[in-house]
Amino acid sequence: MAEEKQEFWRWTESNWKNPDIIWKDAKFVTVGIDVGSVSSQAVIMADGKILAYGNMRTGSDSPNSARNALKFALDALGDMSEERMDYCIGTGYGRVNVPFADRSVTEIACHARGANFLYGPEVRTVLDVGGQDIKAIQCDKKGKVTNFLMNDKCAAGTGRGMEVFSDLLGIPIQEVGDRSYEFKGEEPPAVSSTCVVYAKSEATSLLRKGWTKEEVLAAYCKAMADRIYSLVERIGVKPEFAVTGGMAKNRGVMDRIMPKIGIERMKTEWDTQIAGAAGAALFGYTLCQKGKGRVKG
């Protein structure tokens, strides 16, 4: 009875090209590479505008992940060679392993700067929920970090946990958000353990009690929302509030956090996963403008 094992946690990778920009006229082409624990992005900018990006899963080898992400973005663009880059900044968990980067900046600074770009300068509080980390960041109007908090030694409540869970229930990760609202009656109470490792036993026992998959999902999303919120609560929310990282796409968790915060989160057309890489590319652009770019030889 060998079934084809489907991997429900595999969120879709994507790349994109901005059709409106002719990069050949650009003064500076800068690149930001964000190698996260789960995903890697490359954002290519022409004079501070996004030209193209690539967003894919991180492999077990981050130098390659960086290269692949860049290649993915260049593929979207089609006609640019790596040599055209004026400056490249690495960020994220694997930032020191980006072989072609000129410099690295922490993902905390990059996400704040990126959020400032994706959402606009009104952003003061940024929540980044990625694969392993939850970060609550406060920043000024320039996107400079003024304060931040990170989760401690437990991965509960992070994107990776959601991946494991979606796989377990056999619900594709993109559908998790909507499915978590498809149940009748009252919202079930949060599960008690958001531990990634123990999620399975908890889910099993709930399903056995007669819960539907959707209810289990709702209970899990709620628990994750509680966990994430506790970090946000500790730093305090100053408006405007924006969310970056992959979890921003999961309304099952996000829509359960927002009522607690009490204000709306900002909206963007951009892919929230590219915030870090976009911030990095922007820093590169600023450096180039100040004449502190790469010394070409």
Partner: protein, 437 residues
């Protein structure tokens, strides 16, 4: 089939009324023109009594426990304390208390949190003085604080003698405290009231120990879940005359129960003892044990926090400490007597060495005829859990059956009910018991 006859406690309604009155007094103190103070359950409250008959306290630990019973409220308090920046592993009572101030909400009648005129406490666990130091600061920084350090060494027989300079140290701080109280309240100190209070303190704590002695009977006339509602008087205010009188009454009733063979739990088959505060929001675990015929008959915690005992090395027994021959006559004598009395508190001894506590616990296990010991590794209280892992080893070595579970007296997030029930079942089964449905 029930093995033993059982009856409700006659003085139960009175206990309830006394407790409620106590909490009400604190919130209404101002309307009566009285004085309000805050401090620990272990604070020498007799000293404050010299300020007059209208001084009322909120006692931090029982207050923290009261919060814990209301889980949503407690969750709110705890998160307020965390948001202020306090670590989650700090004393759970303390965090509930600070949370109440931060939210300005009194858990006992849902009104505003009554601001105290001053704080008066003692210090032995790392948190006691810091608790009220921070509480004063959170109240706006204008509540004065005085703490008496009682970390002056263990009491005999755990030390060869009670060195005079140790009693002096504690008594002198009380003397200073009296001066300080007069200054911060502007009131004249009444030594007579004080001396009376010292006597009441000794009377109450010694009587409580006598009451606990009665629980040596089989079947036990009191179970620990009931004890929790009764020992609290010795925790709320030890020098309270009304409370001391109540214990006299209680003593008579329990004595009568023991004589007539009235059980607290009808199907008592095995006797247990526990340690440290229970997870207050989950006292139903005691009910669960009863289903197995297992009755917890007490603990060093309930016996020793409200009672004064001396450990007898030779008999390997805990003996209620006898009242002094005569009442103190002067302020200084009162302070010396009170200091000496307090320093002998069983619950102070383990701060110096776990071995002392192991001895006292083993004495309870043997003399109260316990079949097993359940230790609560209480994440909410470092003070009472200090050395607990060594107590476990020491009790095992002395032939006791011991079980430990992790939990928290005041932070429900750290208590796993299912896992604990599972563990309890394994343990009770290993004692040869079987659950009755």
């Amino acid at each position: 089939m029930a093995k033993y006859p059982t009856e409700p406690l006659k003085c139960w309604p009175k206990a309830k009324e006394l407790r409620q009155q106590f909490y009400r007094n604190f919130s209404e103190a101002k309307e009566k023109g009285g004085i309000r103070w805050m401090g620990s359950a272990w604070a020498p409250d007799a000293v404050v009594r010299g300020l007059g008959k209208d001084v009322y306290s909120v006692t931090g630990e029982p207050y923290g426990a009261s919060c814990a019973f209301d889980k949503p409220l407690s969750a709110k308090f705890l998160s307020a304390a965390e948001n202020f920046g306090f670590a989650r592993d700090l004393c759970a009572y303390m965090r509930n208390y600070w949370g109440s101030i931060l939210c300005n909400e009194y858990a006992l009648d849902k009104g505003k949190f009554p601001k105290a005129d001053f704080a008066w406490s003692q210090h032995i666990c790392c948190s006691h003085a810091k608790w009220y130091q921070n509480a004063c600061e959170l109240e706006g920084g204008n509540v004065p604080l005085f703490c008496v350090d009682v970390g002056a060494g263990a009491y005999p027989p755990f030390e060869p003698e009670m060195y005079p300079h140790r009693i002096r140290y504690v008594a002198d701080q009380m003397m200073d405290g009296i001066e300080w109280m007069q200054k911060v309240t502007g009131r004249e100190y009444n030594d007579e009231l004080f001396l009376e209070a010292v006597w009441n303190d000794m009377r109450l704590t010694s009587k409580w120990a006598e009451i606990c002695m009665l629980n040596r009977a089989t079947p036990a006339p009191l179970d620990e879940k009931t004890i929790y509602s009764l020992y609290v008087f010795g925790v709320l205010e030890q020098s309270n005359a009304e409370f001391a009188d109540f214990y006299d009454e209680l003593y008579d009733e329990v004595k009568d129960r023991a004589a007539r063979g009235i059980a607290a739990v009808a199907n008592e088959k095995a006797r247990l003892m526990t340690d440290t505060q229970p997870p207050w929001g989950f006292l139903n675990i005691y009910r669960y044990m009863e289903k197995w015929g297992a009755v917890s008959v007490g603990s060093l915690y309930t016996f020793g926090l409200a009672g004064t005992w001396l450990y007898d090395e030779e008999k390997h027994d805990l003996i209620p400490r006898a009242m002094p021959d005569k009442k103190p006559a002067t302020r200084e004598e009162g302070c010396m007597m009170l200091a000496d009395w307090h320093l002998s508190k069983p619950e102070y001894q383990h701060f110096y060495h776990p071995e002392y506590k192991t001895k006292m616990m083993d004495a309870i296990a043997k003399n109260w005829k316990c079949d097993g010991v359940i230790l609560h590794y209480n994440r909410g209280c470092e003070g009472l859990t200090v050395g607990i892992a060594e107590n476990r080893l020491g009790l095992l070595e002395r032939g006791n059956k011991v079980m430990a579970y992790e939990g928290n007296m005041g932070d429900e997030r750290e208590f796993d009910e299912t896992a604990t029930i599972n563990r309890l079942s394994i343990f009770l089964e290993s004692l040869g018991l079987k659950i009755e449905d």
